[in-house]
Symmetry: D3
Subunit: 219 residues, 6 copies
Amino acid sequence: VLDLHSLVDPHADALTSAVLADVLDALGHRTAALPPALRPLRPEWKLFGRARTLCAVAATAEPLHPYAVEMECVDALGPGDVLVATTGGDRGSALWGELLSTAARARGAAGAVIDGLTRDAARVVAMDFPVFAAGFSPLDSKGRLECVSHGEPVRLGDCVVHPGDWVFGDVDGVVVAPQELAAQALRRALEKATGENRVRAELAKGRSLREVFAEYGIL
Amino acid sequence: VLDLHSLVDPHADALTSAVLADVLDALGHRTAALPPALRPLRPEWKLFGRARTLCAVAATAEPLHPYAVEMECVDALGPGDVLVATTGGDRGSALWGELLSTAARARGAAGAVIDGLTRDAARVVAMDFPVFAAGFSPLDSKGRLECVSHGEPVRLGDCVVHPGDWVFGDVDGVVVAPQELAAQALRRALEKATGENRVRAELAKGRSLREVFAEYGIL
Amino acid sequence: VLDLHSLVDPHADALTSAVLADVLDALGHRTAALPPALRPLRPEWKLFGRARTLCAVAATAEPLHPYAVEMECVDALGPGDVLVATTGGDRGSALWGELLSTAARARGAAGAVIDGLTRDAARVVAMDFPVFAAGFSPLDSKGRLECVSHGEPVRLGDCVVHPGDWVFGDVDGVVVAPQELAAQALRRALEKATGENRVRAELAKGRSLREVFAEYGIL
Amino acid sequence: VLDLHSLVDPHADALTSAVLADVLDALGHRTAALPPALRPLRPEWKLFGRARTLCAVAATAEPLHPYAVEMECVDALGPGDVLVATTGGDRGSALWGELLSTAARARGAAGAVIDGLTRDAARVVAMDFPVFAAGFSPLDSKGRLECVSHGEPVRLGDCVVHPGDWVFGDVDGVVVAPQELAAQALRRALEKATGENRVRAELAKGRSLREVFAEYGIL
Amino acid sequence: VLDLHSLVDPHADALTSAVLADVLDALGHRTAALPPALRPLRPEWKLFGRARTLCAVAATAEPLHPYAVEMECVDALGPGDVLVATTGGDRGSALWGELLSTAARARGAAGAVIDGLTRDAARVVAMDFPVFAAGFSPLDSKGRLECVSHGEPVRLGDCVVHPGDWVFGDVDGVVVAPQELAAQALRRALEKATGENRVRAELAKGRSLREVFAEYGIL
Amino acid sequence: VLDLHSLVDPHADALTSAVLADVLDALGHRTAALPPALRPLRPEWKLFGRARTLCAVAATAEPLHPYAVEMECVDALGPGDVLVATTGGDRGSALWGELLSTAARARGAAGAVIDGLTRDAARVVAMDFPVFAAGFSPLDSKGRLECVSHGEPVRLGDCVVHPGDWVFGDVDGVVVAPQELAAQALRRALEKATGENRVRAELAKGRSLREVFAEYGIL
């Protein structure tokens, strides 16, 4: 398995989720974006890493062994991993929070993407640990959400995420590059950014979109 | 009636809506959180105080005596009070704004929670008067919303709010502690925060969630 | 056609979308606000200008001539124009982004209001080009949205926007003054702001809302 | 107050909610239709009568005097009245049911329109008492909904309903003719139906819509 | 484990989901109703039996062993059982259909309740096998939904369903009586129906709701 | 262009939208179903024919030439055609109704599928002209919806419909077979139905799903 961390520095200006999505579109993979409701807690955050997955459903009672699956999942995270979790539409409590962020960071994880709610937002922001979520709740998940699996593929909206896919997130949202396309897509995305710089300069001078698009083929 | 303002300083680090919700969960009160759509206008805001309630429905015409009920309600606010208002799902205009905030603050109110829209957000932020709302509208409520009662219990989502309950809000959302549980819950929440500090430190060192949770029982 | 840019400096404190909406209400025009989901990318932004319109629907395939209509529309923008675009509820990709913002700004446009999603938010914010939108997506509109007309009236929620109407946006949302009411409405709104200053001062002193409203008739 | 029951027999073929809505449109009243979620329990039902109104909000506890307001409202219904009730978007329990239908019918009421849920649907259908509602719930409203007023104007979606307005419902939905327009609108609607019969016959022969619409101006 | 099939004949007139919900309310169990979106394919259907549960989430690929969990679940149904299944909000394909209905009926199952979509509706209706669902789709669940467990408690909206609970469904919706309350609740519900008959007769005579409710305490 | 009307008699028992969707799934075309909100006005209706398309957006005023595009579209329908129209999510008025149905039928059209609302439902049902729609409104589309094109591809949810595709609808929903797959898909679907008959018989005898699926590979 290729490690693409050496390829991409998410804090470099050039790469954005939009450019990566464009490249994946061009490669024929048009369902790379997670649902637009998933937002970074801070708009400045960028997130890049290898997907690790977690799936939760509506819980029915206080569990005998609370948090068993999510603890196992987070304890297994490694350097550069990004947790991608889904509650399947349940918005009744927070699946994620500060202590899980602390444990994840201690293992070197790069961040977490939660198709569900998070809490402890003030402290997660203070930790500067990139979390993308669909919103906030002060309510704990215990007795409200039950994690049913980890390490299995999950689907968030139209986008299927496999463990080992590569995740890139910024203020525009989160894009997931399938493992087999990721190296190629990231390389092309880094190149495409250069092209956009030129187009931007031309447009800023006042040339028409029609002309510039005809010349560069980028918009 | 107990005044809990001496007990809690909402600007102290230790207390959060998440910890308070956990304590209320443990006391068997699991519907303490207001709907997650209610957000502070500034994420840094913390809000604590005694609930005063207001209930509005869709209006049908310009009223003869505009704003009568909300003026009565706000004029009756006292030091440390938090207005909790609901429009029952109507999102067609702003129930709250700058002038009401000014009047509420002049009476010593601690803030306002609106299950509906607000306006004059720039000035409310400039006043540093904590308002939590479901969104924004430039439209006035006159002829669009009609306040039908104040000082009566209201329900926002699953959470019933009685006048005299205690409200705590921060970036994770708003938690309402029923009057009869509030003193006990707030005391326990202040204690629980200490426990979390220890857990956080253990996790930051890299111990596994499984071990730390087994030892402290906190997650 | 009257140019109202000389009348209004959107960065002046006095005018807000809320005051303008109140004046339009008083003139009998009660559908002046765009849907509350349309938010500025930065809460500090204010936007004022003449409406230019664009209408998109769900696309069905990669087009032969991509971006043709939106390029024509943006290339035709002039100084002080505000693009008002709608996707009719489609939230599957971003209709707007950085390169379109760059081209619009190069023609002197004041900003863009998108009833749909935008992307390149970090760079649009860095450009300080006021964009109001319903959310974010990294996905390009190519093959996902098709612009079917520009320069025709559009409807966003209850609000009809004609080319030549005057648009004012701030953190509370976006208000559209019909061309024939705009000069009168903007003048009255600038005056009303003064009245609010007095009311605010009275309320801040602690006078009751009931009294102050009886005296000034403003809330 | 005019009694229009002599004017209209809702079971006559000619009059439909669609034709009545067209006539009200032509008279400049374009918000006559209740929200499309309100459906007759049986598609065959037609409903016509004078509006009586009821307004409910989310309840917070079992009331001391359960059902007080709705009992007062229903006990006051008279021959040919149609109850129009709203829960303001709450869909957590049934505001209406069989016993209320029985009492309403005993007073001669023509039917009920509930912007909320109903129950006892099987028996209401067996009674052949026309109820239009937004859905069904087995849950009683006691402790879940609280009626806060009756006999006051209510707003359902965009449509304001005043006591004394005239209500016409069929499978296409419910149209409310304001009291001052009702006689004129109903007379014109009865006439327009005749015109439609001719247009229908022409179209059935195979003439083009373009030609027939040019000739009759009806579509 | 008590078998309550002898107690209740769902086709008897007297018992309805509404009366059963009222009795459970009175016993303090106020979350007995499944979400109102779950509707019988035929309004005439009544359903009664012991709950068997199934839980599905969004699938990510064609499975190696398609339908494994749902086949195991349905093959294990016994006489008088009612399958209660949830897709956790996913509405992208049909979890249920004719062949599963055929297999369920062959084992004596009384019906199925699907918090999700169904298909083959014409044939399921022709079989007269009571299915309650949230809607219809021609799309098979293979590669779209994955069943992750059966025989575990599930939550549908606010209502937790345990295997062995008792399910009663009719046109008003579906009520679930927890195993430990079911015998008592069903007995009381059968009695309460008698009381309603008397109330109905009184109201039909034209007595006021106020009087009749004061006398019988039933509404 | 192949005419498939000779191949399929939609009133034959064997073919259903579900079987056709299964076959298209097997051919790799997994977005063949229109959104589940589109329902037949009568559950008994079956619809089969060649797609003709129409696209509408929110209108902004009474048009100069009302109904121009939809009249042109309907006047151009031919024998066996099915109109497929979309309003892009607008649910504020009825795009379809009785007079359009009459004109469509006079040209031999097989039915209409409206991703939007319809009206005149009683008469459309009486005509036995199969209309599938997302709901009902008494309000005319004039000044509320504007048809912007016909004869162009349209997208309804995930499903792209091209003029000339083949449409099959029944109580489970509507499936669209792309022109180039339609003949093959319809032939296979007719065959698959036979296989299902055998499976059904086996299951009805009480054989387990596991066994029967292992043997026939159909579920």
